[in-house]
Amino acid sequence: MAPRETRAGEARAAAPAAGGRQVWRRLLARRTVRAAGLVVVLLVLTAAAAPLLTAVEGQDPTSYHNDLLDSAAGGVPTGSFGGVSAEHWLGVEPGTGRDVFARLVHGARISLLVAVGATLVQVAIGVLLGLAAGLGSRLLDQLIGNTTEVMLALPSLVFAISLMAVVPTDFSRPLLLTLVIGLLGWAGTSRLVRAQTLSLKQLDHVAAARLAGATRWRIARRELLPALAAPVLTYAAVLLPTNVVSEAGLSFLGVGVKPPTSSWGQMLSGATTWFRADPMYVLLPSALLFATVLAFTVLGDAVRTELDPRAASRLRVGTTGGPGGPGTTGEAAA
């Protein structure tokens, strides 16, 4: 369920970066980043204000409108563009007549919540285990390494389905989805963090901390975690949209959120067959999903470029000066 990290990304040691504020400023200076950020902010706001927005429209996400459907034609909405009207801004759902706009904005809540939650779970477990593997004994490293391998080798879809079936139904579905996606998808993060930890461990400032008498835990917290933030953040930006799609996939297979709750995945899974009869119904959730993924990917890429000095010096004829090394002067052409 999680994307595989690339070796290239894995092997790269976290590099020192300029101060956080500076990175932030540079990020905001880019037009694409601002646009992507705007999309994300809008999405979050929409999700948060979903009840308000639907109230403005005067609809709710669960009410049926049989009068807007052509029952003999399989329940396709009457009217053009999937039944778009002043009452129903984005038309109604085929087969039920539920308001598409209301379902989309309410669906955003679930999709984002589950995706963000699952990403947090993945990152938390991944960082914890990755750090433990990188800092712990050989045995522990081996153990975690093998567990990671098992996690990667498990057909996660099957396990997601089975796990969803094992848990009692009164357990909150969104939470369960979050946990299932999260618990099955941490292996990539853990590998990344382990590799990063191993290369960071070689750095002299970690040795210095050891000489200062710092405990392993203190070293992990003070010296490693801050340096891990950048690669992990970047990786999380890749995980997040994947988790949105995972949620969609599980909903598609019928083990997602409980009806009548809507999520984008659930809408998409129901929509595919309507492609010809009611294209609007397919395009809307697809477009939203696409925008979300695009926005997060752009942000992730930008963060990575800013935090990764190799990317920064990309395509420049860096003339590393004398023994002073790059960094202090303009000669490095940074």
């Binding site: 879809l157 099957v158 799609v245 696409f290």
Partner: protein
């Protein structure tokens, strides 16, 4: 190298054992009664008992697992009614549902998934690496941005959407492609090719996005390296710099990722196979999960797990082969 492979082989056995244990545990906890399912809903309790006994489900779960392990090492015998059905090692058991040997079932479906995965791989490599290269070369231009957005669209849209839309447009409306179907390569190569073209593309479109991004960043990274500067300083043209030097650098991660993806593909082509009705491993897996057909599920997860682990090893080896600086331990 030998040591590396030995160590990996040992690890593989461990991983597979762990996988089978986990599958047994999950299915033991999961609701549902395989005997009842195999017998049919209207079976009487007495009949269900008989079936349970026949399937060996009356034994405690740890014994069932032990029998399963024994089958892998030494083979097992099952009652086939008129006689005994010998299932030679490595025996993964017989399906609760059909009574077929799991190994046979897997062997019958492997070519389907393999055809799907390998064909898709070719396309996603051509498409992904090509797009990545192009976007690395035309960095910052409008065309490149469009291309990047398009490859992103690939990652964002689930296969069940892309596949179905392609099917309706290409097969039903435009009739450019035949409807997907599987014909064994040995039977009719042409039909094999045409029948799988659409599934390949649906899978590849999604995968190629990843490769485009990987290629692009790897090429850019390599272009920023010192040795590129060397060749630039010797008057080597930009095109040659990219095709001979930068691409070569990008090849290593691409090859390694390809191995990994191929490995996972064997377990993850579920949605594609279901959508296009290709009787492959993924489809069998999902069906078997629904039927609580434990031997089939365990057998399939072992095979797919094996593929993933193997792919990891192959990726490591390829990594070392394509990049001599890497050493294997």
């Amino acid at each position: 190298m030998i040591r590396f492979l030995l160590r990996k082989a040992l690890g593989l056995v461990g991983v597979l054992l762990a996988i089978s244990l986990v599958v047994y545990a999950v299915f033991y906890l999961a609701p549902g009664d395989p005997a009842q399912l195999a017998c049919g809903e209207k079976c009487s309790p007495a009949q269900v008992l008989q079936v349970r006994e026949r399937l060996g489900l009356d034994a405690p779960v740890h014994l069932q697992y032990a029998h399963f392990l024994q089958g892998i090492v030494a083979g097992r015998d099952f009652s086939a009614g008129t006689g005994l059905l010998h299932c030679p090692a490595p025996c993964l058991g017989v399906s609760y549902r059909s009574g077929e040997q799991v190994t046979d079932m897997i062997a019958a479906r492997l070519p389907v998934t393999a055809s799907l995965a390998l064909g898709a791989m070719v396309i996603w490599l051509v498409l992904g690496v090509g797009t990545g290269l192009l976007s690395a070369l035309r960095r910052g231009r409008l065309g490149e941005r469009l291309l990047t957005a398009l490859t992103l669209a690939g990652t964002a849209v689930p296969v069940f959407v892309i596949g179905l839309v392609l099917l309706i447009v290409l097969c039903a409306q435009l009739r450019w492609l035949p409807f997907p179907s599987y014909t064994p390569l040995t039977e009719d190569p042409q039909q094999w090719f045409w029948g799988l073209l659409l599934p390949w593309f649906s899978l590849a479109l999604i995968e190629s996005a990843k490769y485009a991004r990987l290629t692009r960043s790897a090429v850019l990274e390599t272009l920023a390296e010192d040795h590129i500067r060397t060749f630039r300083a010797y008057g080597v043209g930009e095109r040659r710099l990219v095709t001979r030097h930068a691409l070569r650098g990008a090849l290593t991660p691409v090859i390694a990722l390809t191995a990994l993806d191929l490995g996972t593909m064997f377990g993850s082509a579920v949605l594609t196979e279901s959508l296009f009705g290709l009787p492959g491993l993924g489809k069998l897996l999902v069906t078997s999960v629904g039927l609580i057909d434990l031997p089939t599920v365990v057998g399939l997860t072992l095979v797919t797990g094996f593929c993933v682990v193997l792919a990891n090893v192959v990726a490591d080896v390829l990594y070392a082969v394509t990049d001599r600086r890497v050493v294997l331990t």
